[in-house]
C-alpha cells in the first residue's frame, strides 16, 4: 500500500509539473507536432492544471513580461511575426458590450472531449477548457504566479509559513444556490486523499498537508491539518514550508459536498453530476451537453464577481484543420490555443483579432541516460548509455538551427530555447544564458575532441571505441510540421557526422510514444518531447531524482542539491531563489540531459466582435467579462 501511495504521489507530482495548462495547450496537441508532447501523455496533460486553467478566470495583475525574451524581433522577413505584434488583453468599453450576446467558442481537437467535468477528476486539457467556463479555483494568482487576494477566497499566512487561513467570499455560491463553504474545500482534500480516489491529483502538494498520509492510509478519520473554522473559513497546515506552496501548492478547487457526500469516492468520477449535469460556481451554468461534441451554457446570474457579460455561450469541438476557416466564416467566435503554424496564414483576415503570450512550455530533445528503478522509486543513470558523454549531447544541440525552425515552420511563434526554465517565468528565466545556439563547427570540434571520429570513412562518426554509432530517435506524429522537423533534425545531425535514425523508421502516435519513453524502451536513445511547466518553477517533478517523469533519467548530486536549495527556507527570499535557479539553469546547459529546442507562443484567436478577454496569467481580465459587441459574428 505504502509503495503504491508513494508511486501515485510521485506520479501525480510529476504530472502536475509537467503539465499542462489546460487551457492553453490543447490545441497543440492536435496540431503541432511537438506540442503534442505536451499534452501528452495524458498523465501529463492533465494534472495540475489547476493552476493553469484557473487562470482564465482568476488572474489579475497585469501582464506582459513575455516579450522581453522574444528573440524573434530581429528577423525581418515579412512572414515572420513575433509576440511583440500581439496584445495580451483585448478590452472594450462596457457600453459597447451587448447585454444579451452569445458566442461560440471552439475546442480545437481532432477527437471528442472526454467529459470528466470536475476539477477534482478531469483528465484532459479539453475538459479543462470547458471547466474554465463554469467553474473556477477559489484562489487566483498574479503574473508572478503567486496566489493573490483577488480570487473567491483570500488568505493569510502564519509567520512560520506553515499555516494558511482562507476566507471564502460571502456571495460565492454553487450553481444550485447552495453556498460554497469551507467544508466543500475540506471535502475536496478528503476525496483526493481517499485511497479509493480515481483521479490523478494525489501528489506531493497534497501530501504536504499535515495528516493527509494518515488519512490516506486509513489511520485517521479526518485530515488533521485541515480545520473548518466556520462556514466560510478554512485553515490548512502544511508539513514543510516551501516557496512552492503559494505558487500552486494549495488545492483550491472545492467539491460540492451536498451533492457528492453520499457517493462512494470511486463512483464520483463516473457519476452524472460529473458527466452530464456538472456543477461549479463559475460565470456560466451548463445547460446541455452533447457528449464529446459540444456544450451549451447560460449566464450565472448569481456569479460572485458580477453579472457575466454573455447571455449564452456554446463550446464545440472543431478540428485543427478547419478551425481557421470556421473563424473566418464566423462559425466560431473564439479559439483558445490557436494552431501556431496557421497564425500567419490567418492573420490577414480582417474580421479576426489575435492575442498572444509566451507559453509556459518548451519543446526539447531528451537523451536517455538510464532507467527508472521502480523498486527504489528513483532514477538510475547508466554510465554506458550511448548518450552518456555530455560533449556528444552538447554537440547535438549545437548542430540544430532552432531559430530557423521557429521562423520557418512557425513563422516566428516558436523561437530558440536556451534554458530549462522558459521565459514565461521572467523572474527565474535567465536570458543571459545563451544555451547551445547553432554552431555546427563547434559541434564538430566537440565531437572530435571527445573521440567521436569517423574511423571507417563512411561519412559517419564512430564512438570513441571505434564501434559504429547509430543513434535512435523517437518522435511523435501530429500536425503538418512534425515530420519535416524530425527529418530536419536528422539531417542536421548527419551534417556533423552523426548517424541518427528514426525509431522503427517513422513517427509514433502520441500515446504510444509517451508509453515507450516512460518505460525506457531500450531502443530509444534520444526523443523529442514537449511539456508545459507548472506555474511553480520548482523543477523537481521534471528533473528530480525520484521523479518518474524525469524521462532522461538524469541524476547527479549537484542537481539534487540545487533543486533542494530552491525549495529551502532561504528560498522564500526571491533573490536567493533566483540565484539558485540561475545556477541550476547553467548547470543543466552544461550537462544537457535534455536540450530545449524551442520556446513557444500561445495564441488565442477571435472574431472582431469578441472583447474583454486576455491570454496568459495575471492579466486582471476574468472569464466572466468576455463579451460581444455585435449580434452576429463579423464576416468579410
Amino acid at each position: 500500500m505504502k509503495k503504491f501511495v508513494r508511486q501515485t504521489a510521485v506520479t501525480a507530482g510529476v504530472v502536475s509539473m509537467l503539465t499542462l495548462a489546460a487551457c492553453g495547450d490543447e490545441a497543440t496537441e492536435t496540431e503541432e507536432s511537438d506540442d503534442s508532447g505536451e499534452d501528452t501523455a495524458e498523465e501529463t496533460e492533465d494534472d495540475d492544471d489547476e493552476e493553469d486553467d484557473g487562470d482564465d478566470d482568476d488572474e489579475e495583475g497585469t501582464e506582459v513580461d513575455e516579450d522581453e525574451e522574444v528573440d524573434v524581433d530581429d528577423v525581418d522577413e515579412d512572414e515572420v511575426v513575433s509576440l511583440d505584434d500581439f496584445d495580451q488583453v483585448r478590452e472594450a468599453d462596457e457600453s459597447e458590450v451587448l447585454e444579451d450576446g452569445s458566442l461560440t467558442a471552439a475546442i480545437v481537437s481532432d477527437s471528442p472531449f472526454e467529459g470528466t467535468l470536475n476539477w477534482n477528476f478531469y483528465h484532459g486539457t479539453h475538459d479543462a477548457q470547458i471547466l474554465s467556463w463554469f467553474d473556477e479555483a477559489l484562489l487566483s494568482w498574479g503574473d508572478d504566479f503567486v496566489y493573490n487576494q483577488e480570487g473567491a477566497a483570500t488568505y493569510e499566512v502564519s509567520d512560520d509559513n506553515l499555516t494558511y487561513t482562507f476566507e471564502i467570499h460571502e456571495d460565492v455560491n454553487w450553481h444550485d444556490g447552495e453556498p460554497v463553504t469551507a467544508e466543500d474545500w475540506e471535502f475536496a482534500y478528503e476525496v483526493i486523499a481517499d485511497p479509493e480516489y480515481t483521479g490523478v491529483r494525489f501528489g506531493e502538494d497534497i501530501m504536504n498537508v499535515e495528516g493527509v498520509m494518515e488519512y490516506h492510509e486509513g489511520e485517521a478519520d479526518e485530515i488533521s491539518g485541515i480545520e473548518v473554522i466556520d462556514d466560510k473559513t478554512l485553515e490548512i497546515t502544511f508539513i514543510e514550508a516551501n516557496p512552492s506552496i503559494v505558487t500552486g501548492g494549495i488545492w483550491s478547487y472545492p467539491l460540492a459536498k451536498h451533492i457528492f457526500e453520499d457517493m462512494p469516492v470511486d463512483e464520483i468520477e463516473s457519476s452524472s453530476e460529473v458527466r452530464e449535469e456538472p456543477i461549479g460556481f463559475g460565470p456560466y451554468v451548463v445547460e446541455d451537453i452533447v457528449p464529446g461534441e459540444s456544450i451549451q451554457m447560460s449566464r450565472n446570474e448569481d456569479y460572485w464577481r458580477g453579472t457575466p457579460a454573455l447571455e449564452e455561450a456554446t463550446l464545440q469541438v472543431v478540428g485543427p484543420n478547419v478551425v481557421a476557416n470556421s473563424l473566418e466564416s464566423g462559425d466560431v467566435d473564439y479559439v483558445e490555443s490557436f494552431p501556431a503554424d496557421q497564425v500567419v496564414d490567418t492573420m490577414d483576415a480582417e474580421n479576426l483579432e489575435f492575442l498572444g503570450v509566451t507559453d509556459r512550455a518548451y519543446t526539447y530533445i531528451g537523451f536517455k541516460l538510464g532507467e527508472w528503478d521502480a523498486e527504489a522509486g528513483e532514477n538510475v543513470m547508466n554510465e554506458d548509455a550511448k548518450m552518456a558523454d555530455p560533449a556528444l549531447r552538447q554537440a547535438m544541440g549545437k548542430a540544430l538551427d532552432d531559430e530557423a525552425v521557429g521562423e520557418n515552420f512557425y513563422d516566428g511563434l516558436r523561437w530558440d530555447g536556451t534554458t530549462l526554465i522558459p521565459p514565461s517565468h521572467p523572474e527565474f528565466h535567465n536570458d543571459e544564458i545563451e544555451g547551445h545556439g547553432y554552431d555546427p563547427e563547434e559541434a564538430n570540434a566537440l565531437l572530435d575532441e571527445a573521440g567521436y571520429e569517423d574511423v571507417t570513412g563512411d561519412g559517419f562518426r564512430e564512438d570513441p571505441d571505434g564501434d559504429e554509432l547509430v543513434i535512435t530517435f523517437a518522435s511523435m506524429e501530429g500536425g503538418d510540421t512534425a515530420e519535416p522537423i524530425a527529418q530536419y533534425y536528422m539531417q542536421a545531425w548527419e551534417e556533423v557526422g552523426l548517424n541518427v535514425e528514426l525509431l522503427d523508421g517513422r513517427l509514433h502516435e502520441f500515446n504510444a510514444f509517451y508509453d515507450m519513453v516512460e518505460e525506457d524502451d531500450e531502443d530509444i536513445d534520444i526523443y523529442q518531447g514537449a511539456w508545459t511547466v507548472g506555474i511553480d518553477v520548482d523543477p523537481d517533478s521534471l528533473y528530480g531524482r525520484t521523479s518518474p517523469a524525469n524521462y532522461s533519467r538524469y541524476v547527479s548530486e549537484e542537481n539534487d542539491e540545487l533543486i533542494e536549495r530552491g525549495l529551502s527556507d532561504e528560498a522564500f527570499d526571491v533573490e536567493y531563489r533566483e540565484e539558485v535557479y540561475n545556477e541550476w539553469q547553467e548547470y543543466m546547459v552544461e550537462q544537457t540531459p535534455v536540450y530545449p529546442t524551442v520556446y513557444r507562443a500561445d495564441i488565442d484567436a477571435m472574431n472582431e466582435r469578441v472583447v474583454n478577454t486576455a491570454i496568459g496569467d495575471g492579466t486582471g481580465v476574468y472569464r466572466y467579462e468576455i463579451g460581444v459587441t455585435e449580434e452576429e459574428p463579423v464576416t468579410n
Binding site: 484543420n321 496557421q342 520557418n408 522537423i485 527529418q487 539531417q491 523508421g505
Partner: protein
C-alpha cells in the same frame, strides 16, 4: 499494360499450340487499336510510366525528400518546377517518384493478388466439388473480413515497411474477387467438350489446366487485372492520403494530395496538390478506358465463341 504482358507470358506456351485461330490477346489488341480513346489512353499510360520509371534514374530520392528550412512553401519557379511543400521539398520530384511508387504498388498488388486469385480460382473451378467447396468457403471467409481495417492495423504494427511489404499486405486481402471470377469461368469451361475429350484421352490435370483451360481464360484474366490495376493504385493513394500508406520520406501521390486537408494549402498553394490530383485522375481514367475496351473485346469473343 505491363500487366497484360505478364499475363500474356503465362499464357504463352499454349499459344503455340493454338496458333491457328487468332490468339485471344490479338483480338484484345485489335479492339484497343480500333477504339481511339482507348488507344490514346494506352499511349498516355505508357508514356507516363516511361517518364516516372526513367526520370528517377537521374533524380536522387534523398535529395528530393531533404527538408530545406529556407524554401518552405515556395511557389513554382525555375528552380522548383512545381514549388515546394511545407518541408521545403521539391513537389515535382515528389510527384515523379510518388507516381512511380504508387504505380509500383498498384502493379505489384495486381500481380501478386492476381496470381493467388488465378491459381485458387482455376483450381476451384477446374476440380469443382469438394475442392471448389473448400476454396470458396475460404474465399467467403476472406470476403467477410473488414479488409481495409486489417490492412491499416497491419501497417501500424509492422515496424518498418517498404514498398514490398506494402504490396504483400495488400495482396493478402485483395485476391478474392479475381478468384471468384476465374472460378466461375473455369467451372463453365470444364463442362465443355474439349476438356472432357482431353481428359478421356488421358491428359494430366496440369497439362489440361495450362495448355487448354488457361488460354481460354486469358482474356478475362487480362480484363480483370487491368481494371484491378486502376483500383489498386487508388487503394494505395487512399491509404497514404489517410496517413496509413508510406511514410513521408517515401513520396506517394496520396501523401501529396493529403496536404490539401490543410485549408490554406487547399486555397492558396495549388501547386502542391493539383498536379498530383490531376495525375491520379488521368491515370485512373486512362487505365479504365483501356480496361473497358478490353472488356468489350472479351465480350465480343464470347459472343462469337
Amino acid at each position: 499494360m505491363e500487366q497484360s504482358q505478364q499475363a500474356e507470358t503465362m499464357a504463352d506456351p499454349q499459344d503455340m499450340d493454338a496458333g491457328k485461330s487468332p490468339p485471344g490477346w490479338r483480338i484484345l489488341l485489335t479492339e484497343v487499336l480500333r477504339d481511339k480513346v482507348a488507344l490514346f489512353s494506352l499511349l498516355l499510360v505508357v508514356s507516363i510510366m516511361m517518364i516516372v520509371y526513367l526520370v528517377p534514374l537521374f533524380l536522387s530520392q534523398e535529395e528530393i525528400v531533404r527538408v530545406d528550412l529556407f524554401a518552405i512553401h515556395e511557389p513554382p519557379s525555375s528552380e522548383f518546377w512545381l514549388g515546394t511543400d511545407y518541408g521545403g521539398r521539391d513537389v515535382f520530384g515528389q510527384l515523379i517518384i510518388g507516381t512511380r511508387n504508387s504505380l509500383t504498388v498498384g502493379i505489384g498488388v495486381t500481380a501478386v493478388s492476381g496470381m493467388i486469385g488465378i491459381i485458387l480460382g482455376v483450381v476451384a473451378g477446374y476440380f469443382g466439388n469438394t475442392v471448389d467447396n473448400i476454396i470458396m468457403r475460404i474465399v467467403d471467409f476472406f470476403f467477410v473480413l473488414p479488409t481495409l481495417l486489417i490492412v491499416i492495423v497491419f501497417i501500424v504494427i509492422v515496424p518498418q515497411y517498404t514498398v514490398w511489404s506494402f504490396i504483400f499486405i495488400m495482396s493478402m486481402f485483395l485476391w478474392m474477387g479475381i478468384a471468384r471470377i476465374i472460378r466461375s469461368k473455369a467451372l463453365r469451361e470444364r463442362e465443355l467438350d474439349y476438356i472432357k475429350a482431353s481428359r478421356t484421352l488421358g491428359s494430366s490435370h496440369l497439362k489440361i489446366i495450362f495448355t487448354q483451360l488457361m488460354p481460354n481464360l486469358s482474356s478475362i484474366i487480362i480484363v480483370t487485372m487491368t481494371l484491378n490495376l486502376a483500383a489498386n493504385i487508388g487503394i494505395e493513394s487512399g491509404l497514404s492520403f489517410l496517413g496509413f500508406g508510406f511514410p513521408e520520406e517515401t513520396p506517394s501521390l496520396g501523401t501529396l494530395i493529403s496536404y490539401a486537408t490543410n485549408p490554406t494549402t487547399l486555397e492558396e498553394r495549388w501547386w502542391i496538390w493539383v498536379p498530383a490530383s490531376i495525375l491520379i485522375l488521368v491515370l485512373m481514367l486512362s487505365i479504365n478506358n483501356v480496361g473497358q475496351a478490353l472488356r468489350r473485346a472479351a465480350d465480343a469473343k464470347q459472343r462469337r465463341g
